[in-house]
Symmetry: C2
Subunit: 196 residues, 2 copies
Amino acid sequence: MTDGVVERPRPRDRILETARDMFHKHGIKGVGVDAITEAAGTNKMTLYRHFESKDDLIVECLRANASKAGAMWEAFEAEFPGDKLAQLHAWVRKAAAMLNADGRGCDMANAAAELTEPDHPARRVIKELKEAQRERLVALCRDAGIGQAELLADTLSLLFEGARVSVQTVGTEGPSAQFVRMAEGLIVSFRGTAAG
Amino acid sequence: MTDGVVERPRPRDRILETARDMFHKHGIKGVGVDAITEAAGTNKMTLYRHFESKDDLIVECLRANASKAGAMWEAFEAEFPGDKLAQLHAWVRKAAAMLNADGRGCDMANAAAELTEPDHPARRVIKELKEAQRERLVALCRDAGIGQAELLADTLSLLFEGARVSVQTVGTEGPSAQFVRMAEGLIVSFRGTAAG
DNA sequence: TCTGGAAGTTACAGACCGGTAACACCCTAG
DNA sequence: CTAGGGTGTTACCGGTCTGTAACTTCCAGA
């Protein structure tokens, strides 16, 4: 055997992963770079050798999140190859699971709430990544044979987005508890009006 | 005439109003008490004579917001006395107007995103006020003769909540642009299944 | 074994934060 | 006119923030 133990990731990856976790849990302005480097088992100088600034680190974290989300979509396709409708239902189930995962909302939405400067570098990538997500959901609805694919996709994403912030304010017993029922009902309703 | 000029509000009210505006625009952690007092035309000592702490000021701002929202409900009743269905449609229009008002989301949701400490005093009042809002919308749907009033109210509030964060991330041209169509469609759909 | 680069350490700069103390001022009610 | 409370001013405390400088240590590859 060439390697019995798990290799410890390089400092840059440890910093990125730790920052993602801490930003998610405590918010961006609620975490300092000292706390990140300490939790990552490294130090501030190493962080600033790999990232230009805290803002740069924030942007990289958001991109890493989006890349993880991208993997989720590929998992849908792998599980139900070609069956777009099944993938859409898988999306609903996955979304519902996220609601109960923890009491925190979407990292991008939370970041947008915190970083209010209109020209903050993170705002560009948040918009860009959110639009990409929307495109994916629209394409999924369209390929599933839904007539008004854009409208269904937008409705579903607003419902999900709303459910995530609702969890953050009133908890999982609030309106978000009905998310699956709402989403499934919408899909049924839109399928009824599908245009061949 | 007893008073020709508009009376300048007392320092406490100026601080409260200024803080509400600045918290809304720049986020809670993005504004310091110095900036608030300066913008309110007063000083830090006066702030701390009227509010125990910044956290206390935050809570008072949230309560003031909720009280303004309460006035909105009374305006609905005043405009369409007894006509609950008309009031529900007025709520939809008002919600849509808020989406285009500015690019910032709900102050309570934003505050919940920023104040992550589980026992932060603001979290209690956010939950309390959001639950009161939900009750009002449920009651309105029920009194409008909708069968599944809770489900419609929860769906509408998730849609609205989602639209507000969507505006914050991708702007008014995104999914939130369809909010009115979604909401009106839902109301029609739920009225179709109304139980006498 | 030597070397070069990545990583760690310590200290610091400069700014901002929430919050307080001490004191001067002004305006109004009596 | 006077007394007193609300207000304004200045200075300060201890802490935290992002970001940098100068230096040491470690480790892999030649």
